[in-house]
Structure formats: structure tokens, C-alpha cells
Symmetry: D2
Subunit: 379 residues, 4 copies
């Protein structure tokens, strides 16, 4: 195998991003070689950067971050017939095994053999796209038309999470539905965009940060924003979950549904991962409705489970996505998601990756801007 | 029971509409009395008018037509608490029995005891809304906000058919889907509108009438229009269904899908009822896709059933609608269906109902305009 | 309205059952009058008896208990055509409003206007069947063939809960599935019976009581029984939910699935309501599987929600049942649930109701027998 | 690659089966080498044998028939870790591409790249199992326990079709359902077995052959058998489909449902492929029910489509199966399908394959025995 050198922004330790030169093999039988032109930085990248770990997954060797990306093809493997040099492509971050039980059942996002970019879950780690050049399996490389910019191409990844969330809410989400989204971050906003596209008539988005809500108002995706108080009761302080009940009531009232017999949202998308927010989500959903859990937080939560159970509110989780790219590309490519580009707030060159992370981290913690998506490196 | 007089446009025989004065009882326990302000004329009304029958249902006594309507409340029955005089309302045309097996299973559109307005299916017939005043069961009366005009309120009825068609296509219709609609009449166009709202990225609408397609282009609901040749083979003339196969190929090509492995639309909505169109619909749908049959035509059709079966294309029918009004009102009320009003092409006063029918009939047969929905204003 | 006297076993206070004579009106327009021949006592009846309350619902006036019953018709209301005196019938315990949003959507078990027998949820309370004679709405009265005994007819009520649980697990439960049931009480056993009938190949039932499991073994519904240790950690004692994880591992191992890639049950039915059991249920279910929550316990529980979410295990609740009687009658009537009668362990006369409750209460607390269903024969 | 010789029963022309010696390579990276111990002959094999073609697929080169098989492992490829020599296995007849759109969506039975055994659909043809030794991809090789005989292992293939049909009928098939099966051949009977296992309480099976029905009665899968008259109207003879309507009425009456409001079967499984039978199936299904089309017949049929559409009876096709083997093995292995072995009516040695085909062919055409499954070759 011939090898060529390429530059990569490598996470070598907590808060330590270095530009290194690596060697890349020629693309394999079913691979294409791609130059990433835009790479988004998302929450999990920031976790790796800030803590040298993301939840349970600890970085044990230098890791290239970034799993939201689009670029162009520079070389094709010997068995590749449907791609050619120069093709503009979006890169699907995970490559499943394709043959296990989950893969065969059409739920490849749950594949145990999944190789997911920029993740320390497995060892050796699976490198991400924050670099000059990568080899990618053709089956998870998707051509994008000229009407999709590279930045939008990178955004197809979090958009896929949102689209998967929408699908997981079927058949509860119908044109005319009234929905609630907890959390106005990138994910919450993209869920709003997808729910809007999928017919929701009335979209309430809630956050603890006024700035985040102000940003939400600049999109055309939400009907109303509601600021909810930040209060994470220490255990024992609020055994009856009064905070969540009250917050749910406020949300139902804000959406003018409090006089109805079956007060509550048809579908609620929890996009914060915070336990008080999950509690609120249950109380705020109507009987027979659905709670889609997108946010990832602490592994264990205290939940008003009887309220969900006796009202037959289904709780369904969202883990990444599967079979979303063709549809996401069609949506964005046909102009169906206007305003998508707004989610990119800052742009950097690859060699400035370190700075990008520093700013993004501050952005999240201090300024409350949806800055988690925004790093765009060019060669 | 007190009775008051009211004027009605009554179908007394083939092509014979007369203005008559009828007596109306006070609204019953759970009824409201409503003044219809807008009444649409749809295809089945025209059939009754033109032939004195609609398919198998023959008019055996004078019948008031019209089942698409909205108006305002003028009186409420003794048991009514949630409506008051002056409320603006849309009228759901069918009142099911509420207790039979179908009703209890949530499919009240299939209720055997259904009383459907302006229909000669049962005897005595069930009168429609083309009159000055009707009594209506509160459970099937729906308040509309000021943002919905009476005309739009009347259009909620055919819109309900379209919404029901969309729901019946779940989970096959997903944001990003590519769909085909056969027939660019009122129903086809409303299905397009609903599919657009429900995320379809690419909507092909086909018709044999260029005028109908031109009208379709004035909406923002369709991606492209395709004129298909009119040819209804006499039996034996086209045993291999070559016409339908060719037409399907043209449609797939027009939608730029012919190079794909699983060429064909994700979901096809058949909105003509014509057998060659159903055949085309099957050939034009992709493996694992869905064919939603909305059009009503001859009871028996020759179909390429093996093509549907071996590719596991589900064939699902649409019979009217159920549980659609709250969502339809929310969609239209929130501005979610811009351009809806366009579907009303002419307006008449109740006393001119005869003329309205004459024009609508000609409009359908000769001029090819989507005139089947005529707005009828009363004093 | 004519009235006639009848005897009833009335709960007049905590642990105070009295035989009283009440007056009964003639059956209304759509009612039949029924003599209950068998009345089961279930957990909620015992709660009312033992505590004068069932969870949040406190008995505020004398209440006739019993909502599992079958009997024969002694009189029919003026509008009734499909029942005649002497008909053997099973009584569906809840009468929904039939017209609200939930009723129209086919989920009448969630109806806010539901009148449910032997429940103190609403005031005035809704009396149960522990009496000589009741009036019952025809729409919720179901004829039973001679092949169904009155006792089995009474058991159709808890069987309905189980059938509803089975339906709620669709499409995850398929012939060949491997399932877990937590709790070997009446409900757990009936879920086992229904799952067996619905094709589950491998049914593991777990309980903390060896006696309950021994009883389970006498049925032909379960593949294996597993005794799980009773340990309800006080809060803070087991923050990592080690107990639940270990118990889940044991269960997976007992079912010989521990060597598999996606170890875990396809569907788990939680039939205890205990929080440690819900935790165990989540850990024991496979990725993409389903957890059906039937048991009712404390309103708030500490749950390993991330484990459910990241493996996309859906959590669906079961609240009573809807549209189950016709199918349940067909199943039992055709001999499809052999061994059902075994669930009735004791029989009493109406006048001995007090004793029945005493024994049933002891039975539950001390002897661990599934005595919660007691047969009550009347003269 | 080393090669070894093996004997095969090869179809060399119409009605011409010859025993030939072929050369077999060592098993590939992910393959096992298997000795088929039992091979079923099914309808499509008989078609190839009798006509040198199966529908559109014409035999263009010598073809080894047989796609229902089980045997034991004699060698494993270099990459195989989960099989060892001596393992008893059932062979899944189709190997899909694993990466196309259909494969990724979990519907690999619709894969365009499917390699299906004993089929002339593609060229070069894909050989079947009627031979001494085959190489098979591990992902489609399934271990069977000792409780499953080789004959039963071969029957897992048609059983898979039946299981897939059952899954395709979800959620319409529920415990207590009343179903109809048209056609009492191997497929119809296996559908009956699966429906029985999946809770159907009342199973009517219809055939034109009394012998087939007599055989059905020897199983415990059906509630009743109904002989329907054989009459295939020439076109034009029965434009109103009176035959089908009458036959449907008889079937509904036989199942004692004719007095009901929504008379008709909950789910009908069409297992003949004959057009009059499909017509009958539509008329015999209840509103809101489902027609599962398993039989394969002429590509084009005349159908009472309005009857399906206006009653919202879904028509869903069944094309082979996917993801069925693990569940089918569990069902049969746990004794869940007693009587399965009965479906094997004759046994032959591989060298007598020619005779087997002759008898099977006569059996089908003249004697009406379910002899289509029966060829069992031993090494
Ligand atoms: N399920 C998946 O596959 C998947 C994929 C990507 C991200 N995620 C998760 O989705 C969540 C959102 O991701 P993001 O990138 O948008 O993160 P983000 O940090 O940009 O946004 C989260 C938002 O939630 C708000 N918030 C915090 N606590 C709240 C509370 N109690 N009530 C209301 N709002 C509150 C924050 O102010 C912030 O605006 C994260 O938990 C992330 O881990 C899940
Ligand atoms: N399922 C239901 O509950 C329901 C309710 C309302 C209407 N419908 C049916 O829906 C259909 C459409 O209703 P509409 O009001 O829009 O009628 P319409 O007459 O206005 O529209 C039908 C359109 O189909 C076109 N057409 C005819 N033959 C065609 C062919 N072979 N290929 C392509 N296009 C063809 C016509 O030119 C016309 O534009 C009718 O059959 C009607 O009976 C069904
Ligand atoms: N969802 C509904 O509509 C509905 C209807 C009826 C009953 N229920 C609920 O279903 C549950 C079961 O009802 P039942 O009548 O069978 O009650 P039951 O008391 O007879 O049975 C419960 C069983 O659970 C066992 N158990 C307790 N803790 C356990 C643990 N930690 N692990 C394993 N097993 C444990 C007990 O030993 C007992 O055998 C109750 O919670 C009841 O309230 C719900
Ligand atoms: N969908 C699939 O993937 C799949 C797989 C295997 C077989 N099949 C098809 O399933 C069908 C049944 O297969 P089989 O192996 O059981 O065939 P078979 O020939 O053994 O059985 C067919 C039965 O249908 C009966 N029959 C014929 N005409 C009838 C009529 N008008 N009414 C009632 N009964 C009638 C026959 O007497 C016979 O008993 C065939 O069409 C076959 O091609 C489909
Ligand atoms: Zn996999
Ligand atoms: Zn009804
Ligand atoms: Zn209700
Ligand atoms: Zn494939």
C-alpha cells in the first residue's frame, strides 16, 4: 500500500490539540479518499477536548476529532464505480458491520460493531475528520449536489439525528401536531426544523438560556420560545417534582392548551439530557402522546414514571441515526431547510483548530451561543 | 319542538335544483344550529346533479346537496356548553354512531351507521348544507379561528381526505421522500399540499389535462408536472399493460430516478380512480413503497398485482377521513397552507345554486378547470 | 323508574365490608340488568379494603367493590334489541364517554370521562359488581358462549389487561420471541399466557416469591422461573443500580443468552410496579427491544434511562385495556387458554364477602399465593 | 483453491434430471462447507423441472435445484470462528448484498443483488442444494439444536415465508383474530400453523381440493375447512365477479359471521395465486382488515378494487422472507410447531432425485397431495 502524508488536528491530551503529519494508505477496495472541506465541532468533541473523555469513553491514544463533515473525492479504490475524483460528498460518520442482527433488521445505528468517527468508545480509537484527507467506505459516502454547500453538508450529520428523532416519533407526529422541544441547542433547533418540515403546526421551544431562545427566534422554525427557570434540585429537595410539574404547566399554558381536556403536547422532544427536563417533558405531554429522548445526560434519572405509564405516553430513545442521508440530502438540496446555514456561527482554518476549540468551549459555557457547530477547516 | 322555516337548494331530479322552504326543528340536546356561510360543491354533488345518482346510490327523494361547509352558530341545544351563538365553525360532514366496533377502534370513517351529508346511500337520505340553516351534532362541529375564512373552512373537508391519505401512508412518507400524485384535481392538489407540509422533497403530479397541470404550477406544492397521454385501452387491446408501463417509465424518468437501483416513487397517491392510472401507479412505485388509493372509479379493475406483490408495495385505500379536523384547523389557522384559497374559483349566492351547478358541471367536463369546489355565499 | 331491592357487599370503611340492601332502578334505554355470578377480587379491591384507599384515590362514601365479573341478563332496557333475558354475559368494567378525542382515536381506556367500576377516582364513586344485581350499558356487555364458565368470564377482565399489554408490544413481539416477565402474580401469569398464545417461544418469569414461581410452574405458560433476590435499596445505598444490573445478568444467563452479541430479551413485561424491578427490566432488554410497563407502583422511580435511550429500548405503558373483549372471548371460548380456571383459588358466597377479603388479604401478604382473584358465587 | 468432487442432481433440460459430478472449491473466507442432509422440493422447483422455466425465468444452463435444506458442516473458511465441523445447520436460501438501500432498511428480501438458490433469475444461475456438498455464507447459515431434525430444518424455509406473512399482517392479527386462508398447500398450511401460534382463534382454510382439506384436518392448525367450487370464468363471463362474491359469502357464513355488522375475516392470507381466489379474499375480509398476498399467479388480475379501497382493506404482498431464521428455529426447536414433520410425505435418496420429481409432479397435478415438500436426500 502506498502511503501519503497529511496534516491532522490531533487531540493529544486534555485541552491539547496539536497539528501533526500522518501517513495515509491508498483507499481500499470499496473506499474513496476525501478532502474534508468543512468539519463541524459538536458537543461530544468538546467533551473530549475539555475532559479528555466523553462520559464513560476515555481518550487513551491521540485522537482526531470531528464527525460532521463534507468534502470532495480525490481518489477512488479499485472496486469503486459510482464515485469519481472531484465528486462533492457528505460523509456519514459511522460504518456499521452490515451483517449483524441489528444491521439486518434495518437498525444499523445500534450495530455493536459500529465504527464511529472521533470516538474513544473502542480501542484503537476511530479517528475523525479534522484533517486534510481521509479514506471512507463508499457505502457511507453520499454525493451532494451543488445546491448544498460544504458547510451544509457537514450539518447533515446533526440533521440526521433530528430526522431520526422525527421518524422515531411516528405515527404520533402528524400534520397539525403541537410539539414541545426542550433545549434550544443545535440539536433542539434542528429537531424544530425537521418537525416544522414534517407538518407540526405549533412548535414550542424551551431553554434556560435567553440567548439561546433569542437565536431560536431568528429561525423560522419555532412558534414560540419559553424561558424556563434553571433549578436542579439536589436529591431529596423536591421529592414530589414540583419544579417539573410547575414548569410543565407553564409550558402547556404558554401553548394555550391549558383549558383542554387532554392538555399537553402531542410529542415532546427532550434535547438537553438534564433530568429535570425529562421530568418536565413527561408532565407536559398529553395522554397517548410520545416523548422522544434525544438529549444525553447522566445515566440514571429520577422520573415520574407512573405519569407516563397511566397515560400511555411512550418513551422512545434516539441513538444517532440510520438511513437518513439520502432523504436529508434531498431536503436540503431542494431548498427545503432554509436558514440551515445560520447554525454555523464561526469559521476557522484547520491550522487554527486549537483556537476554534477554545472559542467553542467558551461559547458553550459562558456566552450561551449555539457555537458548538461552527468549526470549518479548509485545506 | 319549535320549528322555523329556512330556504334550501334541493335536488328534485336529474339536473333539477329548486329553491324550497323547509321547516327546521330547534337544535336537539347535543346540537348547535348553524348558518352555512360557504358551501363547496364537490365531484359527488355533481354526480348526483348530473345523473340523479352517484355510483350505486340513486336519489329517491328530494335531497339537499353540499357536504363541505363552514358557518356560524345561531342557536345551541339545551345540553351544549362549549359553543355559543356567533361562534365560527367548520362542519364535519359525517356523524358516526360512536359505539360500534369501527368507532371504538378509532376508525369511525368506516362506521356502518355513519350519517354522511348530501348522500343518498341510506334512506331517508341525509341532507347536505346547501341551505340557510342546519342542526349539527356538537361533537362534529369545530370552532375555527378568525384566521380561517369561511371558504377555507369549507375546504377543510377535502383537506381532511388529503390529510387522511397522508396518515395512511405512514411510515413510508418521511421528510425527503419523493412522491407521485396521479390526478391534478382538487383532491390531488390537496394531497400535494399535505405531502409538501409533511416533508416530501420532490412531488411529481401527473394529469391528462394540460390546464389542470397549469393550475397546479400556480401553487407552490408541486416540484414538477407531467402530462400523461389519455388512453383507456378497451379490454383485450393492451393485455400486457404496455401503456401503464411506458407511462410509469416516463414518470420515473421525469423525476430523474431512472438510473437508480430501486427506481420508483416512495409513495404514490392515486387521485383519479381510473384503472390505467392505478396500473401506472403500481409500476411507478419503488420496491417496499406504498400506493395510496384515493380516487374512486369503476368497482373492478385490471391490475398488475404481481408487480405490487413481489416488490411488497402495499396498497392502502382512503375512505373519507377521521380525526382530522383539529389538526387541519391548526394547520390552516396557523398559516401553514398558503394558497389554499386559490382552490375556490367561483362564488355564487344560494339562490343561484342552479347556475353554480351548471357552470361547475361544464367546468369539469369541458374547460378542465378545478372548478369542482365552488364557493357558495348566502345572504 | 321502578326500583327493586338488591343485596350488596359494601365497603363502609377500612377493612369494613357490610351486606346492605340497596334499591336498583329499571335498566335504562341502552342498559341490561345483570346478575353477577362470579366476581373476582383483584389487587386494587384489596387496597381499598385494606387502606380505605388505592394510591391517591380515597374512599369518601360507601363503595361496592369488584370489577371483574360475569353473569346473566335478567332484564333489558327499552332500546335494547341484541340481548334477551337469560343471556350469559361478561361485564366490561369501564364505560367511556364515547365521543372525546381519546375515544374517537380508538384509545378509550384513556378517556377522561371513563366510569370505571369499584373505583373512588371520581365522586360520586362508581360502584362495582359485588352485589346481586347491576345495570350495565349494552355496549360494554359481552355475550359469552357456554364454553366459558362464569369464573372464566370474570377472568376476562385481567386477561384484557394482558391482551392489551401484548398489543402494546407490537411489532416487537413476534413468533419465536424470547420474553421476560417480572412478577408472577395474576397479571404476570396472564401476560405469560397471552405471550405464549402470541407465539413467544421462550418465556422467563421472575419473582421474589418461590411460592408464586411454583404456582407458575403448574401452568404451561412459562419456559422457566427465576427466583430473584428481594432487595429494595434505600436511596443512596445503591447509586449505580448494581442490584438491578446483577439481577438482569442472572436473568439473561438463565435464558442462555449471555453469549450473544445483543444479549437481552426481545420484550420485557414489568408486572410488579416495584422500582428495582423496572430497573432490572431495562438492563435485561436487548437493544431495539421493548419494555412494557404493566405494574403500578410508586409514582416516581429512579431509572437507568441512558441504558434505555442509547439502546433505543421503547418504554410503553399499559393502562387497563380497550377493544379486548371480543377477542378475549373468542380465545377463551375456543379453548385457546387452557388452565385459565386455575387462577381462581378460592370461592365464596356473596354473604361471605368479608371473609373472602380477609383471606385474600392474608393470601397476598403471607402465603404468597396468587389469591388475588377470588371467585364469588351468588345464590 | 483446492477443489473436491461432489455429486449433484442437475436439471439439464425440461424433465431431465441427471446425476453429475462437479468440483467444489474450499470454502471462502466467510463460508462454511455443508453436506445437505434433507432437501425439500417446492413448487418453483417443480416448475423448473416440468417447464424448464418458472414464470419468466428460463433455465439457460444446467441448474441444481432445491432451496429448502439443512445439513451439517464439514469444513469452515479461514475467517470463520462461530462454526465448527459437525455443527448441524439450516441453510437460508438467499444471500443479499447487505449494503444496498433495501438491505440497510431491513428488507433484504427485496435486495436487487440477492443470490437465491435454485433460481434462473440471474445468469449465471444460482445453484441449489440438491447435491452432496455446498459452500454457504456464514451469515446465512443457522445452527439448529438436536431437537430439530434435518427434515424440519429444511422446512424452516417455507416456514419462513409463513412467518414473514404473519409479520406482514401486523398489527391486524391479534390474539383472538378470525382469519381465512385460501389454499391448503404447503404454504397455506404453514401460514395456518404460524397464525395459530400467533393467537388466531378461528382459522378457516379453503381449497378446491377435498384431499388437500382432508390433509389439513389431520393437522391441529385449522378450525374448519371449506371446499370451494373450482370455476375460473373466462373473461367476460362473470363481469360482476358473482362467483367470488358468492364464495366469500359462503366462507363468511361457514365461519358463523354472517349476522355481524362488519362481517368478514380480520385477516385473509391468499395462498393460491389464482385470480378468482384473490377476488374472493377481498370480498371475504372485513372493513379495516388486511389481505396478505402470498400466492403467486398470473402477473395481471381483475380485482374488485373499490371493495378493498372503500372499506380500507390493506393489500400487502409477501416476497420470500427476511430475519426469520432465528425465530423460526426457536419456535420449532422448543416444540412450538407440533406436527410440522407431517408435511414431509415422501423420502428419497439423492440418486433417486429424478423419481422424486416425477412423483412429486404427479402428486401435485393428479392426486392433490401436499407432496411438494418431500425429497430428502442423504449422502
Ligand atoms: N441522541 C443522539 O444521538 C444525540 C446526538 C447528538 C447530541 N445528542 C445530545 O443532545 C443534547 C443536545 O445537544 P446540543 O448539541 O444541542 O447541545 P447544546 O448544549 O448546544 O444544547 C443544549 C441546550 O439545552 C439547554 N438546557 C440545559 N438545561 C436545560 C433545562 N433544564 N431546561 C431547558 N433547557 C436546558 C441549554 O441551555 C442548551 O441551550 C445533548 O445532551 C447531546 O449529548 C444526542
Ligand atoms: N377516497 C375518498 O374518500 C374520496 C373523497 C373525495 C374524492 N375522491 C375521489 O378522488 C378522485 C379525485 O377527486 P377530484 O375532486 O380531485 O376530481 P377531479 O375530477 O377534479 O380530478 C381528477 C383529475 O384526474 C385527471 N385524470 C383523469 N384520468 C386520468 C389519467 N388516466 N391519468 C392522470 N390523470 C387523470 C383529470 O384530468 C382530473 O384533473 C375522484 O375519483 C373522487 O371520486 C375520493
Ligand atoms: N396497568 C394496568 O392497567 C394494571 C391492571 C391491573 C394490575 N396492574 C398492576 O400490575 C401489578 C401486578 O398485579 P397482580 O394482580 O399480578 O399483583 P400481585 O401482587 O398478585 O403480583 C405481583 C407479583 O410481583 C412480585 N414481586 C414483587 N416485587 C418484585 C420484585 N422486586 N421482583 C420480582 N417480582 C416481584 C410479587 O411477589 C408478586 O408475585 C400490580 O402493580 C398492579 O397494580 C396494572
Ligand atoms: N410469496 C412467496 O414468497 C411465496 C413463496 C412460496 C410459494 N409461494 C406461492 O404460494 C402459493 C402456494 O404455494 P404451495 O407450495 O402451497 O402450492 P400448492 O400448489 O401446494 O398449494 C396451492 C393450493 O391452492 C389450491 N387452490 C388452487 N386454486 C384454488 C382456488 N381457486 N381456491 C382455493 N384453493 C385453490 C390448490 O388446490 C392447492 O391445494 C403458490 O402460488 C406459490 O407460488 C409464494
Ligand atoms: Zn452490525
Ligand atoms: Zn360506528
Ligand atoms: Zn371519552
Ligand atoms: Zn441488498
Amino acid at each position: 500500500m502506498k502511503k501519503m502524508g497529511f496534516e491532522a488536528a490531533v487531540l493529544c491530551g486534555k485541552k491539547e490539540i496539536r497539528l501533526e503529519t500522518r501517513a495515509l494508505e491508498d483507499p481500499g477496495e470499496d473506499e474513496v479518499q476525501v478532502v474534508p472541506k468543512a468539519i463541524g465541532i459538536c458537543g461530544s468533541d468538546l467533551h473530549y477536548y475539555a475532559h479528555g473523555a466523553n462520559g464513560l469513553f476515555v481518550v487513551k491514544e491521540p485522537l482526531i476529532l470531528g464527525h460532521e463533515s463534507a468534502g470532495y473525492v480525490t481518489a477512488v479504490g479499485p472496486g469503486v464505480t459510482n464515485f469519481k475524483i472531484g465528486d462533492r460528498v457528505a460523509l456519514e460518520a459511522g460504518t456499521p458491520c452490515s451483517t449483524c442482527k441489528m444491521c439486518r433488521m434495518g437498525r444499523y445505528n445500534l450495530c455493536d460493531g459500529m465504527q464511529f468517527r472521533s470516538s474513544a468508545k473502542r480501542f484503537p480509537h476511530c479517528d475523525g475528520y479534522l484533517c486534510e484527507r481521509v479514506n471512507q467506505h463508499v457505502d457511507f459516502t453520499h454525493k451532494i449536489p451543488d445546491s448544498i454547500s460544504y458547510e451544509e453538508g457537514a450539518l447533515l450529520e446533526p440533521l440526521s439525528v433530528a430526522l431520526h428523532a422525527i421518524r422515531r416519533s411516528q405515527p404520533s407526529l402528524t400534520p397539525g401536531s403541537r410539539i414541545l422541544i426542550m433545549g434550544s441547542g443545535t440539536v433542539g433547533l434542528l429537531v424544530a426544523a425537521m418537525a416544522r418540515i414534517n407538518g407540526a403546526s405549533d412548535i414550542t421551544i424551551a431553554d434556560i438560556s435567553q440567548r439561546r431562545l433569542e437565536f431560536a427566534q431568528t429561525t423560522e422554525w419555532v412558534t414560540r420560545t419559553v424561558l424556563v427557570p434553571l433549578k436542579r434540585a439536589k436529591y431529596g429537595e423536591d421529592p414530589e417534582l414540583v419544579y417539573a410539574k410547575d414548569t410543565a404547566s407553564e409550558l402547556v399554558k404558554a401553548a394555550k392548551m391549558d383549558q383542554e381536556t387532554y392538555a399537553g403536547f402531542d410529542v415532546t422532544y427532550e434535547c438537553t439530557g438534564v433530568d429535570t427536563s425529562i421530568q418536565t417533558s413527561i408532565f407536559a405531554t398529553r395522554p397517548g402522546g410520545k416523548l422522544v429522548m434525544v438529549g444525553m445526560g447522566k445515566p440514571i434519572a429520577t422520573l415520574p414514571i407512573a405519569s407516563a405509564m397511566t397515560r400511555e405516553i411512550d418513551l422512545v430513545g434516539v441513538f444517532r441515526y440510520c438511513n437518513t442521508y439520502p432523504e436529508a440530502i434531498r431536503m436540503v438540496g431542494s431548498g427545503g431547510v432554509p436558514g440551515l446555514g445560520k447554525l454555523v456561527t464561526q469559521r476557522y482554518r484547520l491550522e487554527d483548530a486549537r483556537e476554534a476549540f477554545e472559542v467553542a468551549e467558551r461559547g458553550q459555557d459562558e456566552e450561551g451561543r449555539p457555537g458548538c457547530l461552527g468549526e470549518q477547516g479548509t485545506a
